[in-house]
Subunit: 333 residues, 2 copies
Amino acid sequence: MPSRPTIYDVAALAGVSARTVSRVVNEEAGFGEATRLRVLEAIDKVGYRPNMFARALITRRTGTVGLVVPQMIDPFFAELVDGVQAAAKASGRTMIIAKHDDDLADFDSILETMASFGVDGVVVYSPRGDRATLFKHAMRGLHTVAFGMSISGTNLGSVLWDVSLGAELGVSHLVEIGRTKLVMLSHTGAANTELLPRRETAFRHTLQSAGLHFSEARVVRRDPTIDGGRAAMEAVLAAGTPVDGVFTYNDAMAIGALQALAGAGLRVPQDVALVGFNDIAMCSALVPALTSVRLDRAAIGREALALLDRMRSRPDQYEPVYVDVELIVRQST
Amino acid sequence: MPSRPTIYDVAALAGVSARTVSRVVNEEAGFGEATRLRVLEAIDKVGYRPNMFARALITRRTGTVGLVVPQMIDPFFAELVDGVQAAAKASGRTMIIAKHDDDLADFDSILETMASFGVDGVVVYSPRGDRATLFKHAMRGLHTVAFGMSISGTNLGSVLWDVSLGAELGVSHLVEIGRTKLVMLSHTGAANTELLPRRETAFRHTLQSAGLHFSEARVVRRDPTIDGGRAAMEAVLAAGTPVDGVFTYNDAMAIGALQALAGAGLRVPQDVALVGFNDIAMCSALVPALTSVRLDRAAIGREALALLDRMRSRPDQYEPVYVDVELIVRQST
DNA sequence: TTCGTTTACGTCAACGGTGACGTAAACGGA
DNA sequence: TCCGTTTACGTCACCGTTGACGTAAACGAA
């Protein structure tokens, strides 16, 4: 932080008190037009910008929001970060971003750092659905919004999307276009212990309510990556499970499945229809373009920041906020 | 920023002065072991964390670095952000991230905000190679490192990778494996006016020094996206240009080319070998896995932060720093 | 034993703003 | 003309921390 001109430099040049400069800068009432012009000219001449720290020290507000995600390589998170950033910018706030790589200790120290950095609040994707750390920091006064997991309490709220509905939309679309031999490529790990089972449950329920047969062999679990998706699809084909429709845990797995199907000489969608989840940007650039369940990421950002705002005035219990999911139908189905 | 316990609360509980608590917290010399333990216990009991603003106000250092990129959706930038973040974390710094969407006015106001936020320095990928804004803020005292463009001056340095060498590595690899009918899929726009021509120049030079024919028809320009790459490749095939090797501006275009080649029934690498640029994570997950020119993104982050450090002690002219490029050979060649 | 040195603290001011409050001058209504 | 109100400022303290400096007590060497 190289030293910059202060409010006193401006005051001296404009021939007024620092308090008056402060008033002009913050557009408070109580100064004359002539004074305003002199002050603005002086600000321009010395290149003055307010020091956020001095300001934050007394106002106890920083206009800064923290965002914590597991990582940013996965396009899903990259696009989520993008959505929250856009929302922050729209409401004039600065964002601090950190990633925890699914490490609980890192996560704890990130929240610690953000708190001492005086963020007005944090928006968080918790590692492995960790709740304890969230409660700990919220209790100490950190305004927190978790997304992708349901949690609420003092200084603690959440923004969710209806995963069950999304899964149902995807699977019933496969049923509607006449597919009867469905398979789900799911996620091995416990990356998020809440969202995972719901997708599988919705898959089973939708099959059953369509009168289709469900068996455990129709859910194959691997890492939620391209390679994992390819491996899962290859396992299905190798096992000889009859299949004409595939629903995947996320788009990365769908891309992998696409590769495996191509490798086996099966055509998409003629032989096998394919539905992904999350609708990352790449879906529309694939051949064939991938049908996927879309989350409104901009809305997630907006809702999270709005929730933080509400918390400022009323920091008690918050009901989870839901954002819409919708199915985007493309060439793969 | 909800109110948190201060150094005075700790001091009162431990029965010492605030100054002594400060000394313990910052591990300065000059306190007894018994005192240290009492203070640490008190810190733990009240849940004290130093207020960064008060500290920054007096030390004039924030331990914060700004990172400005055009966007974060493109995996190349997402991975770059990741690399810089990792480097920042390793050196104990916090990062503020912003994106400018190639908008010059946004870029200017982002730097303004970061400066008033008291960042120790910024690491920047300039929109459209803009230099004027960089010079303006550097002149006012903002320590700046640009990457991907060569620039230097007071408070201003750059971290680069040798694009020419990267292009040469990629193209001569194609030549070495016996390909003689090469095509380059390049970038229409002026996203970065410096890096662009160098790739094309290296392509031409490498062809010529291998005794191969070069013609303008062998460079096709489109948007640097998957769709752009597909369109470019389709244009080459439609024009009937003979081709057995393709070098692309970036990996996204290579993915598009892969789709177009598959659509035309051409096999990779048997019929056409393919080399991308940047080596985004996805390259290894493609079928066939993509040969690509890799930039050491972690090194970019490290070098950028190291340059900022050097600037603190000596803010004058800096020679650009280069990070390595290397060719990662995979199945597509 | 004496006196310089080190250790282990404490005191005070300052960083750059803004909230709370004070006040002189201008204004306006009866 | 008088007095209450508004306008347009200024003054001062304080936000939480650390730099500069002071000092009493303990220590150590002659």
